[in-house]
Amino acid sequence: MIKRTATGKAFIDQPDDSLVICRCEEVTKGEIRRAVYEGMMTMNEVKRYLRPGMGLCQGQSCSRKVRDIIAAELCVPREKIELSTARNPIRSVPMSVYANDKAF
């Protein structure tokens, strides 16, 4: 668990902050960095705050990068950042499939 420490320092913009990281939900690097600055220090928190990984692809292409950005922002190795909780269903499922469900 990463300790929450208020650094008291100002948020510093980076030249590539406008890069889209999560393609589905169109979340930028700057937004993720700012979320960490504002106290979201886990993948779960950043995900709920900004929705990276909650789009159609379910984080398949961005989770690795979101993890790296959070780790870099907190100055910790990426291994220290736990992935967001794995949940059923791991792929996007149309609601009609659940509505069709024979088991219920």
């Binding site: 890069l19 690097k29 690795r64 992935l83 794995a86 059923n88 791991i90 792929r91 499922v93 499939v97």
Partner: protein
């Protein structure tokens, strides 16, 4: 709820191999795959695989896929396609979405063989249409017969980057460049050499600065990076391309393993977060196994063996084979897997550092690592390169195999026993004796690295004959003229095609023999048809 003795998730090389192994011992097996076609990425692999005979070396990936599938189906394995496993619950229950229905299955054992997903990098313009994954390029070309575009920039020089670069050229695209942020080419030197001699430049220590275009890619700017990965001002280069292909690594698709409660660990040399497995591939959750790329990124040949190891272990656990029989198979598969994991690029578990020498002690070619081709002056130290004396005697095979890659088809196919790799398949091939070489060319067309050439310096006065492997269309006809190119793709001189041989055994690879001026015998390694001699 339908029960199977073994549920396998993923019909790629690992999943199908696990299925075959378990079904052959009599277990009831089902394989689910989300794709409409089985085989995972195997059917997109149109190059010949490395390894030894038992790894199905020198076979093209798609043929291995066809065989695995036929074997599995023949053994009564049920392969369900278009089936997305979306959930995994306690007691090894899974939910599978098939068409518009959710279905429920439970297994006595589960093998997670979900493979890998492609990594991406972000740069301005990276979401533009025309920026695609290397896997997407393969799917378009090799499954659907569609070129992804005309001119391609390949980002990443690992095996995926260089192999797909070659496939793009085979499909009729131009590859403008291969770039990599690292200072060295990441893939096998022999794969890089195939495209280098067709004139593809490698820009190492380079990254992509921007994809240009408003609604599609219409160019790319690349830039050199320094040792701290920072762009070097003024080093920008514009490349006129319409496709930017990303081949920047793979990550194990381990979500299902996490969902199942398996312990996962970060392993940088395995590609990321992978389930912790014992030597049989069993995760920390009893009766749930992981095999193939999901357990660590490797080649398909290794994935097949991991699948076999898991299938064998499951058969023993459920009493379908005796302990002794199980141990015998396990030892065999394990040895075979360890062979593949040896050598310069091996996954032996240790920290990887860039080696400076081959296992035999020769200095590794630096031009191969930075430019993608061997410099003639570096060649002489390698045991597969015949010296001047041998070449004066007549026709010789030149084995330009200079890294310890687990592979030995050259030794296998030579009917005269001229080539020796030895028991350790990562050894460099040695030219035992050129005296018996009949010039059959089997080694040339079999070498998965296309690193073997026949050179006859005594072909005619002032002319040499050089035979090369050739896999492009249209196939030149004997008598046609073209250009002999060196290992970097630079034009050396006019050349004439003497003969073109192709048969069922060569599986698409032609043996093209060209006549070149004698002084270029050890330099000419590619034939470019047509086109008059160009300046420079």
């Amino acid at each position: 709820m339908i029960r199977y003795e073994v549920i396998i998730i993923g019909a790629g090389p690992a999943g199908l191999s696990a299925a075959i192994e378990a079904a052959a011992r009599g277990l009831k097996v089902v394989v689910f795959d989300e794709n409409d076609k089985p085989g995972g990425q195997l059917f997109k692999q149109i190059h010949k695989f490395f390894g030894a005979k038992e790894h199905q070396a020198r076979e093209r990936g798609f043929r291995i896929g066809e065989r695995l599938l036929a074997q599995a189906v023949g053994l009564g394995v049920k392969v369900v396609l278009g089936a997305q496993v979306v959930g995994i619950f306690d007691n090894k229950q899974i939910t599978v979405m098939i068409d518009t229905q959710m279905e429920y299955y439970v297994g006595n054992s589960i093998v997670i063989a979900t493979g890998a997903s492609e990594n991406v990098i972000s740069f301005p313009g990276w979401t533009l249409p025309g920026v695609i994954g290397a896997g997407a390029a393969q799917t378009l070309m090799n499954i659907y017969g569609l070129r992804p575009g005309s001119k391609v920039l390949m980002v990443g020089s690992g095996n995926v980057g260089v192999v797909v670069g070659y496939q793009l050229i085979q499909a009729g695209c131009q590859v403008a460049a291969v770039i990599d942020a690292a200072a060295h080419i990441g893939g096998y030197g022999v794969h890089a050499a195939k495209i280098a001699r067709m004139g593809v430049p490698f820009y190492l220590s380079h990254t992509i600065a921007q994809a240009h275009g408003t609604d599609r890619v219409c160019g790319a700017t690349i830039v050199e990076v320094d040792q701290a990965w920072q762009p070097v001002p003024g080093s920008e280069k514009f490349l006129d391309v319409d496709v930017i292909c990303l081949a920047v690594g793979l990550s194990p698709m381990s979500q299902l393993a996490r969902l199942a409660g398996c312990l996962l660990q970060d392993h940088p040399h395995k590609g990321g977060l992978v389930p912790v497995c014992d030597e049989y591939g069993e995760t920390t959750v009893k009766d749930i196994y992981a095999a193939g790329d999901v357990a660590g990124i490797e080649e398909a040949s290794s994935a097949m063996l991991q699948g076999r190891i898991a299938g064998n272990a499951i058969a023993c656990r459920h009493g379908y084979i005796s302990r002794t029989e199980f141990e015998r198979y396990h030892a065999e598969y394990k040895t075979s897997l360890m062979q593949l994991r040896g050598g310069t690029f091996g996954h032996d578990g240790g920290e990887k550092t860039q080696p400076k020498h081959t296992a035999e002690g020769q200095p590794l070619s630096q031009t191969l690592l930075t430019k993608g081709y061997l410099d003639e002056r570096e060649l002489t130290v390698f045991p597969g390169i015949p010296g001047e004396a041998a070449r004066k005697q007549g026709l010789v095979a030149v084995l330009e195999c200079t890294q310890n890659i687990p592979c030995n088809p050259c030794q296998d196919v030579c009917p005269k026993g001229c080539i020796k790799v030895g028991d350790k398949i990562t050894n460099l091939p040695v030219m035992v004796s050129s005296a018996h070489c009949s010039g059959c060319g089997l080694c040339v067309i079999s070498c998965p690295g296309q690193a073997i050439f026949l050179v006859n310096e005594t072909y005619a006065d002032n002319f040499a004959a050089v035979s090369i492997p050739y896999e492009l269309v249209p196939l030149p006809v004997p008598g046609s003229k073209g250009m002999a190119c060196d290992r970097s793709g630079a034009v050396l001189a006019e050349a004439e095609v003497i003969s073109v041989r192709k048969n069922a055994k060569s599986d698409g690879t032609a043996l093209l023999t060209m006549k070149v001026p004698g002084q270029w015998a050890m330099l000419a390694r590619f034939f470019k048809p047509g086109a008059a001699l160009q300046e420079g």
